[in-house]
C-alpha cells in the first residue's frame, strides 16, 4: 500500500523530517532489517552526541558581552513587530480619525469623543519602546553613552515644552519613528525619577488634554498640542504621571 522505503526516507528519518505516517513505515522497515537499523541508530547516536558536545561547548561561553546587544536587538524587534500589528490598527483608526476631524471642524457633530479617546495612539507604542530602550542603556552605561545633546537641541523643528523648575532635563536625542521626526527627552522629575518625554510630529492638527494609560508595564500620559504629540513615560502611577503631564502641557 505504501511506497517502498528509499534512501531518502532513511535520511529524512534521521533528520526528523517525516510525518508520523512515514515514520511508522520507516520504523516498520527497520524492524525487519536489523543491520540497517543498527546503522540508523548509529547516525542518531552521532547526532545526539553532536548536539550534546556543541551545547556543552556553547554553554561554557560567557554571555556578558552579548547582553547589551541582545537587549537592543530585542527592543528593536519588539518595536517592529508592534508597528506591524499597529498597521492594521491604523487602517481601522482612519475612520475614527475622520471622526475626530469632523469633530474639530464642525464642532462635535459625529463621532463620540469619549469612545474614540480610549484608542491609544500608535505613537504611544513607539514612545514606550524608546522609553524601555533608554532605561536599559542608562542602566548599562549611564546617560553618557546616549550621546545626548543639550535639552531641546535635538528637537530641531519639534517644539519641546518648557519645563517647570522642579524638572531637570538630562538631554535629548532623535529617536526612530515611523512618521518621521521624533525626539526623546530625558528628564529627572521632581522626585529624581527618570522620565522620558517623546515628541513626534503628527499629520493632523489637534488639541487634546493629557490622558493616562498603561502600555504593557509602562505608564504613559499622552497629549497633543497642535501638530505635535507628546508621550510622557515613567514608573510613576498613572494619576501622578497625569498631573506631571498637565504641568508640562500647559
Amino acid at each position: 500500500m505504501s511506497e517502498p522505503i528509499s534512501e531518502l526516507d532513511l535520511m529524512a528519518y534521521v533528520d526528523d523530517q517525516l510525518d508520523a505516517e512515514r515514520r511508522i513505515a520507516v520504523e516498520d522497515h527497520l524492524s525487519r532489517h536489523p543491520v540497517l537499523a543498527a546503522q540508523i541508530m548509529d547516525d542518531l547516536r552521532r547526532r545526539d552526541e553532536l548536539r550534546l558536545a556543541l551545547t556543552e561547548a556553547a554553554s561554557a561561553r560567557s554571555n556578558h558581552m552579548l547582553e547589551l546587544p541582545a537587549e537592543r536587538l530585542g527592543r528593536r524587534l519588539a518595536f517592529h513587530s508592534s508597528l506591524h500589528r499597529n498597521r492594521r490598527a491604523i487602517a481601522a483608526s482612519i475612520l475614527v480619525g475622520a471622526g475626530w476631524f469632523a469633530h474639530a471642524m464642525f464642532g462635535g457633530l459625529g463621532a463620540d469623543p469619549a469612545s474614540a479617546a480610549h484608542i491609544l495612539p500608535v505613537y504611544a507604542d513607539e514612545a514606550v519602546a524608546a522609553h524601555r530602550t533608554v532605561l536599559v542603556e542608562v542602566l548599562h552605561d549611564g546617560t553618557a553613552a546616549l550621546n545626548l545633546t543639550q535639552a531641546g537641541a535635538a528637537g530641531g523643528s519639534i517644539p519641546l515644552p518648557h519645563l517647570p523648575a522642579s524638572f531637570a532635563p538630562a538631554g535629548s536625542h532623535p529617536v526612530p519613528s515611523e512618521r518621521g521626526n521624533a525626539v526623546q527627552m530625558l528628564i529627572h522629575g521632581p522626585d529624581e525619577e527618570l522620565l522620558t518625554l517623546f515628541a513626534v510630529e503628527t499629520d493632523s492638527f489637534n488639541i487634546e488634554p493629557p490622558q493616562a494609560e498603561a502600555v504593557r508595564d509602562v505608564n504613559v500620559a499622552y497629549w497633543q498640542s497642535g501638530w505635535v504629540a507628546y508621550v510622557l513615560s515613567g514608573t510613576a502611577d498613572q494619576k501622578e504621571l497625569l498631573s506631571l503631564a498637565s504641568r508640562l502641557s500647559r
Binding site: 517502498p4 522505503i5 528509499s6 534512501e7 531518502l8 532513511l10 535520511m11 529524512a12 534521521v14 533528520d15 526528523d16 523530517q17 522497515h29 543491520v35 540497517l36 543498527a38 546503522q39 540508523i40 548509529d42 547516525d43 552521532r46 547526532r47 552526541e49 553532536l50 548536539r51 558536545a53 556543541l54 551545547t55 561547548a57 556553547a58 554553554s59 561554557a60 561561553r61 554571555n63 558581552m65 552579548l66 547582553e67 546587544p69 541582545a70 537587549e71 537592543r72 536587538l73 530585542g74 527592543r75 528593536r76 524587534l77 519588539a78 518595536f79 517592529h80 513587530s81 506591524h84 500589528r85
Partner: protein, 170 residues
C-alpha cells in the same frame, strides 16, 4: 536577556562554533551577528521565523568575514613578504571536543554547515536551503556526504567490517 532572544543565543553559539571551529572567533561571530541584526531589524517580518532569520544573518556574516580575512591575509602577505611557512594554528585548541565533534570539525565547511543546521538544529531541508541560498537537492547531497564521512571516520576507528554503507535499500 530579552525574552525574544533568550532562546536563540545558545543555538547561535553552537552554529558559530561549528563555523569558526574556534571559541574566541565564535564569540566574535555571535557579536557581529547581533550587531548586523540590530542594523537590519527593520527588515524582519514578525510573521517569519526569528531563529531562521538570525541564522541566515550569521551565515552571511561568516561568509563576508571569511572574504575579508582572505583579502587581509593576501594584503598582509604582500606587504610583509614573509615566507609562507606560518603554520595554521591548531584550530580546535580552545574548546574541548569529543571524538564525534572532532570528526565534524574535520568536515569541509559546506558539509559541516548543513550537518549543524539540520542534524543539530533541526531545521527543515527547505529552511536550510533558503538560508544558505542553495537548491534543496544540494543541501541534501551535502548532508549525505557529511554523514558518509562521519560514518567512514568512525568506522575506521572501530570495527568497520560489520557496518555496510547506507546505499541501497529495498
Amino acid at each position: 536577556m530579552h525574552p525574544l532572544l533568550k532562546d536563540h543565543i545558545l543555538p547561535l553559539r553552537r552554529y558559530a562554533l561549528a563555523l569558526t571551529r574556534d571559541a574566541d572567533q565564535s564569540d566574535d561571530l555571535v557579536q557581529e551577528t547581533l550587531a548586523r541584526a540590530i542594523e537590519s531589524a527593520g527588515s524582519w517580518d514578525p510573521r517569519r521565523d526569528l531563529r531562521k532569520w538570525l541564522f541566515g544573518i550569521m551565515h552571511n556574516t561568516h561568509l563576508s568575514g571569511r572574504r575579508r580575512n582572505v583579502l587581509e591575509k593576501s594584503v598582509a602577505a604582500e606587504i610583509t613578504s614573509i615566507s609562507s611557512d606560518s603554520t595554521p594554528a591548531s584550530q580546535f585548541q580552545s574548546v574541548h571536543f569529543n571524538e564525534t565533534m572532532a570528526s565534524l570539525m574535520r568536515l569541509p565547511e559546506e558539509q559541516r554547515e548543513v550537518m549543524l543546521l539540520i542534524a543539530v538544529e533541526s531545521f527543515s531541508y527547505k529552511d536550510a536551503a533558503e538560508m544558505l541560498d542553495l537548491p534543496v537537492g544540494t543541501v541534501m547531497s551535502r548532508l549525505a556526504r557529511a554523514r558518509e564521512a562521519l560514518r567512514a571516520e568512525q568506522g575506521t576507528e572501530r570495527d568497520s567490517s560489520q557496518k555496510p554503507d547506507l546505499r541501497l535499500v529495498r
